[in-house]
């Protein structure tokens, strides 16, 4: 709304004809609901402009545009006639829409190839991808006169009026496109990309611009053009995206420290000026539910705990966060929502009733295959297992043929086991669902369920719950470095027996009390209110009631009627896309806030408590919200948000795609792979739960480790596989996100590490320096470790090239600091290169590699040199405000589904205290949430 009002102000110079819609009505003849609701446009009433927008852009003008016909031309000509050639859209918004949907695509498709900054071609001196471009015209002068299509060169050229000037040269445009362009010119050639231009032109004396002149134009002008940036020219291009300049200013990267610096107030004025000049962020007014949100919501609604997100296709598309507003629902996604809703409903309300809870006692048998039997033997009442690693390096778990899950569900597994042997470490018993053996007839995919840490020499029962699919069998593998490939072992894990109990029925919360249709409807009402997060009248629910009634009368089944109507609710646009009316938002703001809050922090629907808060008439104040956010962050469901943040912000979603080479890193195992991402998640959870300083993202003296990870990191005396807070020894290189194995692995390819890729990761995700993509036709370099030159020398050669160095000096150094960590996150002092093995690869603890050059982890960034990762951390800590700002921006984008605009960035930056110690994770998140929910949301929508 505000945006409309603002846009309108830009157009107030143009005459608005109040009878426009009346004319439309006349033209249309039958007046069938077409622009008939309002014949007088009153620009002073903002509520009315909204209605006009609906009316004119959705029915009037776009009809002309989308169905070009003789009618369209007639309308155009008539308009010209009636209004002296100066036709203006009934309101600015529709003009903007008209430009964006009709004109911009034509210009882009037909003209930009030869006339645009994007393609770098300006044939005839003309560019058409900016407003100043066409305003300035080409070598032959002005190309169009707003309001006068016949006198405009552009129109003459596309009409092929003059045989010496025919554009596009290959073929004449279709008549409808010519008509549209004529219409556009006659309407005054409204180009919405006007704002920045205007603020610049009209603002020559403005303080902000003067300050840019004072602090920036010295280097970034036509002559020097440092960093390939001519700011004074850039500012005059209305399509110029000021984000880059803005970010460099806000994080103190520019002006460089050796130049004079603007004062805080001056800087604020510059940022302010820049943000005022930017176009509003375009977001659709609705957001679809992501697949994770869908599954979590259904789980919370049904009381189930099913990890079914993978049954829905990856829906992030080409975006960083799956919450992005630009991601649209597709038929394929809708189809899988239909299917997954069915499966989850069937699980919660099984047609044939719940499977009886049953107990199985599995006593291990001697493995039937010799290779296995060598590493296990009969022992007391059960079996003794050593740690097996097969020739290809995989672990193949033992015994699996006495239990098969009858249905999918949660099961309690109890392992009676003891440690045999005089070593201090625990033995890990890894439990997998599924079985695999090289000549299995029906191999099952193995899924790691849990790891039991056995430290006691007496038999004890270790119990835990797991989720099994129908037909899943269990298998175990015993991990201990002391028993690796021991034949006929004397030491190892003694497993006496395993008890399985399930499916556990207390996991199903839906209770069926009555069998009447009235009861079905009550169920629908409660379910839908939470699913849709709004108050619903019987009238609202009528289609769902009718569906239930019809099914009930046909099948006489309470269950069937309930399931079909709940499924309809779960597939409804009210659930999947939350379409809301402006009026509704005004009246029921609380519901909107509650719904957003639950989606942001829990990736789900509100719980009863939040829902009753929404139902309350009382306005949700920042204080109420803050306490609600605190409550929600303490709820285990917040863990979903943290996991999702790790997956997307830090890109841990790709963690499992990378399999480290067992030639180079023979010690890497599925156990390490299982624990590494947990470290990052637990660490981030800890920072948020305990409201620790944001600087802990960069450095701290602790992390969350267990026996296996401590071993991986070379830290002694950590016993047991429970992940817990472990203090690093003094002088350790570890601490903070950058030195975590998960991060170090995901930034490598599993073989070598590239300082460029790691540097780019840090630069993008942690520091938040905006990077331009490499210029075209520049050779991209990969390090060659077999060469005599050191890696750094090779990169230095690359950076010797000035155009490369402009960016690489800001990327590579971060990566240099991480050179002392290999692709699995272990500390190294030398690089490894693969040595060929004879014939087939046979796993061995020594691997197949030789060590080459020494690692050099020195570098220089922001004119400060460092000698290792600890040095880099110090440099980054000095930039703590920028780090916190980058985190905040990412968190905002992650929760809101779009990048903050420049105005919002200023607000976000203002939330960050100057003292690093005062900038706390939970506090910052809470402020961001309150701002997202109560802040001036209208601005951006």
């Amino acid at each position: 709304m505000q945006e409309n009002a603002k846009a309108l102000r830009n157009y107030e110079n143009y005459p608005i004809d109040i009878n426009l819609s009346a004319e439309l009505k006349l033209l249309h003849g039958n007046g069938s609901g077409f622009a008939t609701k309002r014949t007088v446009v009153d620009l002073n009433g903002p509520d009315k402009t909204e209605e006009m927008r609906m009316l004119s852009s959705d029915q009037g003008l776009s009809i002309i545009g989308s169905k070009p016909s003789r009618f369209a031309v007639v309308v155009c000509t008539l308009f010209c006639f009636l209004h002296g050639g100066q036709i203006v859209a009934a309101d600015a918004h529709s003009a903007v829409t008209f430009y964006e949907t009709k004109i911009a695509p034509i210009l882009k498709q037909r003209c930009h190839e030869c006339h645009s900054n994007d393609t770098g071609k300006a044939e005839g001196g003309l560019v058409l991808d900016s407003r100043s471009g066409w305003e300035h015209g080409g070598d032959s002068g002005a190309i169009l006169i707003p309001g006068k299509s016949d006198e405009s060169l552009l129109i003459q050229a596309i009409r092929y009026d003059d045989e010496n000037l025919q554009m596009p040269p290959e073929a004449k445009l279709p008549a409808e496109e010519i008509a549209l362009l004529e219409k556009w010119v006659n309407m005054g050639a409204l180009d919405p990309r006007k704002s920045l231009h205007k603020s610049y032109e009209g603002d020559e004396n403005s303080f902000g611009l003067k300050l840019f002149n004072k602090y920036c134009f010295d280097c970034h002008d036509r002559e020097l053009k440092k960093g390939n940036l001519n700011l004074s020219e850039a500012f005059s291009l209305e399509s110029y995206d000021g984000t880059h300049v803005f970010e460099n200013l806000i994080i103190d990267k520019m002006p460089p420290s050796n130049k004079s610096q603007p004062t805080a107030r001056e800087k604020h004025l510059m940022l302010d000026w820049l943000s005022n000049g930017q176009l509003a962020v375009e977001t659709s007014g609705y957001r679809r539910l992501s697949r994770h949100e869908f599954v979590n919501s259904v789980n919370d609604l049904l009381g189930t705990d099913l990890d079914f997100a993978d049954k829905i296709p990856e829906d992030r598309g080409t975006h960083k966060y799956d919450s992005n507003h630009k991601i649209a629902l597709t038929k394929e996604l809708l189809e899988s929502y239909f299917a997954v809703a069915d499966e989850m409903l069937e699980y919660a309300l099984p047609e044939k009733g719940f499977h009886e809870e049953t107990s199985w006692l599995i006593r291990p048998k001697l493995p039937i295959f010799n290779t296995y039997a060598v590493h296990a033997k009969k022992y007391q009442d059960g079996m003794l297992f050593a740690c097996l690693r097969s020739n290809n390096g995989n672990v193949y778990p033992f015994f699996y043929d006495q239990f098969k899950a009858p249905v999918k569900g949660h099961y309690r597994v109890s392992v009676d086991a003891a440690k045999v042997g005089d070593f201090k470490e625990d033995i890990g018993i890894v439990i997998y669902a599924g079985k695999y053996f090289f000549n299995d007839a029906n191999p099952q995919q193995q899924r790691l369920l849990n790891i039991v840490s056995v430290g006691d020499k007496d038999v004890k029962t270790y119990s835990f719950e797991v989720f099994l699919n129908e037909g899943d069998e269990l298998s175990v593998h015993c991990y201990s470095k002391h028993t690796l490939k021991l034949p006929n072992p004397e030491i190892g894990a003694y497993i006496k027996q395993i008890n399985v109990n399930g499916p556990l029925l207390d996991k199903r919360l839906i209770q069926v009390d009555s069998e009447s249709i009235a009861q079905v409807k009550t169920g629908i009402q409660q379910f839908a209110e939470r699913a849709f997060c709004r108050a619903l009248s019987d009238k609202d629910l009528e289609p769902y009631y009718a569906l239930a009634e019809s099914d009930f009368s046909e099948n006489k089944s309470f269950l069937s009627a309930t399931k079909i109507s709940l499924k309809a609710i779960l597939c409804s646009p009210r659930f999947l896309q939350v379409p809301v009316t402006q009026e509704y938002v005004q009246q029921h703001k609380n519901y909107r806030i509650a719904s957003d809050l639950a989606r942001m922090l829990w990736l789900s629907v509100p719980d009863q408590e939040l829902l009753s808060l929404a139902k309350n008439e009382q306005e949700l104040s920042p204080e109420i919200l803050t306490s609600e956010i605190n409550r929600m962050l303490n709820d285990p469901k917040a863990g979903r948000m943290i996991q999702s943040l790790c997956n997307q912000w830090l890109n841990l979603k790709s963690f499992n795609r990378i399999s480290p080479s067992l030639s180079l890193y023979p010690g890497y195992s599925d156990l390490v792979n299982y624990y590494l991402p947990l470290e990052t998640e637990l660490y981030l959870t800890h920072l948020i739960q305990n409201d620790l300083p944001v600087t802990h993202l960069i450095d701290s003296d602790y992390s969350f480790l267990n026996q296996r990870l401590a071993q991986h990191y070379g830290i002694d005396n950590v016993i047991g596989q429970k992940m817990r807070l472990i203090q690093f020894p003094p002088n350790s290189q570890r601490g903070g996100l950058l030195t975590m194995g998960a991060i170090l692995k995901v930034t490598s390819d599993g073989f070598t590490t590239s300082p460029i890729l790691r540097g780019a990761w840090i630069s993008k995700n942690i520091v938040g320096t905006p990077l331009s993509p490499p210029p075209e036709d520049v050779e991209v370099l990969e390090a060659d470790l077999s060469k005599a030159e050191t890696l750094k020398e090779q990169l230095a050669a690359h950076r010797h090239n000035k155009s490369c160095n402009a960016c690489h000096k800001d990327i590579d150094p971060y990566g240099f600091a991480l050179e002392s960590f290999d692709a699995t996150g272990q500390v190294r002092s030398k690089y490894r290169i693969i040595q060929d093995h004879k014939a087939t690869f046979i796993w061995r603890p020594a691997g197949y590699f030789k060590e080459t050059q020494n690692v050099d982890s020195t570098g220089e960034i922001y004119n400060e040199s460092f000698k290792d990762i600890n040095g880099l951390k110090k440099v980054l800590l000095a930039k703590h405000k920028g780090i916190a700002y980058n985190f905040a921006k990412n968190f905002f984008e992650f929760t809101n589904g779009y990048q903050p605009n420049l105005r919002q960035r200023i607000d976000i930056y203002a939330m960050i205290p100057d003292q690093a110690e005062n900038c706390r994770m939970r506090d910052l998140i809470t402020k961001l949430m309150v701002y997202s929910l109560l802040g001036d949301k209208d601005e951006i929508q």
Binding site: D118, T330, L547, E554, R574, V780
Partner: protein, 411 residues
């Protein structure tokens, strides 16, 4: 409900006819008339391209002098084009991959909105008589491949070969599926009522319309499923490769085998296969390592050798695919002759991320092949797409950045 289901279905078909292009035209006649040798098409996008010096023939005009193509057994049934490109690919990242089949310009821009891909337009025409209007396949689970719908959204491709196999040839419980489809039809009716109610309440129309489009398509698909339910799926004697030593090669082989089988059994006539590069390392005979790192070879010998191993492996499977297709007789021609195979990439040179001179191969399709065709000056790839559309009786004057149908393919 059951008694009048048939009428009810008819009604909804009529309504969806107007709304959805993806619907079967032969719903009410039980026998589907099939043309003698249906035209088919497959698009394969190798996202990191091919190392040009190995691909391009040493002697212009003679594919026998191309290191890569001389080994292709059906080399006389293919044309390698030079000088095709997509205008508007300024990007230095991998964004151009989004535009491979759409021609969408400036895909790196934050305001980029893609457009419908050429395969989807073809599926509207070619996809009406088969069980599946089209098949979108991809080598990984990234969630987007080469196909984009009319709203410019990526169509999530199938990547799990077992799932593809089951969809094409797996047994299904007809009764259960029928019941399910009936229930889903009732749910769709309920949702339509709710939507019209919401519309009257003046809810955000862009949200509802977007949803409604998807619902229409889904309904059309359900109807199609219902129609095909009592027609037995083809029985084939084929088992997927389970070789775990080279997962990438195994997957590629399986997806190509499934594509051939889908054509052979006339289960679909339009396929896209996206070979997006994979994060981390892949393993093919001769090399294990990061495909992407190798692609940035900067002409360094060791990297190039590794890259060649991967590209050779891909070509080996493509070769087998073309050969198998050519071995299958259909009338007096081969399946390959009735199938246009488009093999290409969004990168001309992945090492430098350039987008001019894309490697584009057209194989099969019954065309008179030119072997090696060097076009005069940069030519929009969309010209060729436009020609393919026209060749398949789709009357369009323009597709993407096309300028004209250049009649490059002679029948």
């Amino acid at each position: 409900m059951k008694s009048n289901r048939r009428n009810f279905l008819k009604g909804s078909i009529a309504s969806s006819l107007a709304l959805s292009p993806l619907i079967l035209n032969a719903q009410d006649t039980d026998s589907v008339e099939k043309s003698d040798s249906p035209k088919r098409i497959i698009f394969i996008c190798n996202s990191l391209g091919f190392y040009a010096p190995n691909l391009l023939p040493k002697t212009a005009g003679d594919l026998g002098t191309s290191d890569y193509l001389k080994q292709i057994k059906t080399v006389n049934k293919m044309t390698l084009f030079e000088n095709l490109y997509h205008p508007g690919m300024k990007t230095s990242n991998h964004d151009s991959e989004k535009s491979f089949l759409t021609g969408g310009m400036f895909p790196e821009s934050s305001t980029f909105k893609n457009t419908i891909s050429v395969d989807q337009l073809l599926a509207r025409k070619l996809g009406t008589e088969t069980r599946f209007p089209y098949l979108n396949l991809a080598i990984s689970d990234r969630g987007w491949g080469s196909s984009w719908n009319e709203m410019g959204s990526p169509i999530p491709p199938l990547h799990d070969e077992q799932l593809v196999f089951n969809r094409l040839f797996g047994k299904e419980d007809q009764h259960a599926v029928e019941l399910q489809l009936q229930k889903d039809q009732a749910i769709i009716e309920c949702l339509r009522r709710d939507i019209s109610f919401l519309k009257r309440q003046d809810a955000d129309p862009s949200s509802l319309n977007a949803y409604l489009t998807n619902l229409d398509h889904l309904e059309a698909q359900f109807e199609r499923q219902m129609y095909w339910l009592n027609k037995a799926k083809p029985q084939i004697n084929h088992s997927l490769s389970k070789d775990t030593q080279f997962p990438f090669s195994t997957k590629l082989k399986n997806l190509l085998d499934l594509s051939r089988l889908a054509f052979q059994t006339d289960s679909t006539r339009v396929i896209t296969l996206s070979l997006e590069f994979i994060e981390g390392a892949i393993k093919v005979p001769g090399v294990t390592g990061s495909w992407h790192s190798f692609s940035h070879h900067a002409n360094k010998k060791n990297l190039l050798t590794s890259l060649e191993h991967i590209e050779q492996n891909i070509l080996k499977h493509l070769n087998q695919f073309l050969f198998d297709m050519d071995q299958i007789k259909e009338g007096d021609r081969s399946l390959l002759d009735n199938t246009t195979v488009v093999i290409g990439s969004n990168f001309g040179d992945a090492s430098n991320h350039t987008h001019n001179n894309l490697p584009i191969i057209i194989a099969g399709g019954g065309y008179k092949h030119d072997s090696h065709r060097v076009l005069e000056g940069p030519t929009p790839l969309c010209n060729l797409y436009l020609e393919l559309l026209n060749k398949h009786d789709i009357d369009m004057g323009k597709f993407g950045s096309s300028k004209k149908n250049m009649a490059l393919l002679k029948s």
